[in-house]
Symmetry: C2
Subunit: 228 residues, 2 copies
DNA sequence: CTCTTAACGGAGGCATCACTCCGTTAAAGT
DNA sequence: ACTTTAACGGAGTGATGCCTCCGTTAAGAG
């Protein structure tokens, strides 16, 4: 009640214009460098690119995670949108297949954001919550497709995540040379999901506890490689 | 004629025992650290692990590439063996499927050696030559399987390499939690290769020039990730 | 226009890693 | 045992990246 915007005993000072501007610049720079150089792009370089000193970066985003939180929320929401639209599709197969391809496309574009779905964001509750929501929808997506028989009965949610994860490596390797090459690979994956082609799998699906661990592994140190 | 072992005007000095011993120690340490920490494990740490000074390491292996050359030859030969054995198998499908699974197993074990087949080794002619040999056999393996109709007709050599590449990511992510989980993924891949009821692929195979570029990308900077 | 103060930014400390130089050690030949 | 000399190893240099401290600047309020 006290100290609210404009109503307290002590007025909250308005945010300084340069502060707002710098924050925005930092986010732009971070988005760019995360995409090209990965989620561990040098912070000093992000600051330089934004045209501010390192001190300013750390004032706005005390940790790398804070910066991730600010930058990654949008792509995660986009991902959530993707699942929602897949769920809305009455044709289960088309919905699911479209989801896989679009997710792969999503990751192929933003090379640096690779594997958002399997990256741990401890200390970034908003991101963690988003990831949880997305995963819930994927479970739904798979279970519906399975009950309607458009995918093989032994196919699980984790299998799907692993397929997108798998494809991200191909996207990573081919992005400079043949930017669309991942699609062919992903379409092969689609055929591996179909019920009429299924052969028994020797390996049982992961235990729930294993899934939890695997899906929340720490963020990769250096997802992309450069010259040698 | 002159200066040969024992026959020249000036005798070639025999190799010092400590030199041989240290070289061996360095190789042991390098093998271990490459496997656990990736092909870019700190050289100083390799030296320390081997119980020698950094100077000694650089004397034996002036560049990181020289160390790779010494360490990676054996696994590449093993890989060559794998293809040979697959080719020797009269049952084309079993041979090919076995090759895929064993290759994936191979990469899953030696996490640090990931994607030997798509890593460039400029300046290491022996490794490059080995890789070329392996690739030639794979082409043979695929073409035989295709003409005998045990795989889909639109499946190419690069598709196979990309599948193993894909799976390596899964192996990487699951190795600590569920070391065998990659196999399920790889078996899904097998189903995507089968000829029956294959669905058309929208993307044409890579151009030979694109293949060459993709298959010889620089070695990854930090293949593995640790705590965060 | 003046004052207050938050925001700025960069110099610099610390850690890691690649790589070298050189005084010391000890292996091998006599 | 003595000599020669290759091999040793670690201190040291430079580069990179993380992060902080603090003197300076300028935004916003009055």
């Amino acid at each position: 009640m006290a100290n609210e915007a404009g109503g307290g005993t002590r007025r909250t000072r308005a945010e300084r214009s340069d502060s707002v501007r710098n924050r925005e610049r930092l986010l732009v720079a971070a988005r760019a460098l995360f995409a090209t150089d990965g989620l561990h792009a040098p912070l000093d370089r992000i600051a330089t690119t934004a045209g501010v000193g390192p001190g300013t970066l750390y004032r706005h985003f005390p940790t790398r995670l804070a910066l991730w939180e600010a930058v990654l929320e949008e792509p995660l929401r986009a991902q959530l949108d993707l699942v929602e639209r897949a769920l809305a599709n009455p044709d289960r197969w088309t919905g699911l297949a479209g989801y896989l391809l679009e997710t792969c496309a999503h990751e192929a574009e933003r090379g640096g954001y690779l594997n958002l779905m399997t990256t741990r964001f401890d200390g970034a509750p908003r991101l963690s919550e988003l990831r949880r929501q997305i995963q819930r929808r994927i479970v739904e997506l798979i279970s519906r497709a399975r009950t309607e028989g458009v995918i093989r009965p032994d196919f699980t949610t984790e299998d799907l995540v692993f397929l997108t994860l798998s494809n991200s490596r191909v996207a990573e390797v081919t992005r400079d040379v043949a930017p669309g090459a991942w699609r062919r690979n992903a379409e092969l994956f689609l055929d591996s999901m179909r019920p009429e082609r299924a052969h028994p799998l020797s390996q049982p699906p992961l235990q729930p506890s294993e899934v939890a661990l695997t899906m929340t592994r720490p963020a990769p140190r250096k997802p992309l490689s450069e010259e040698d």
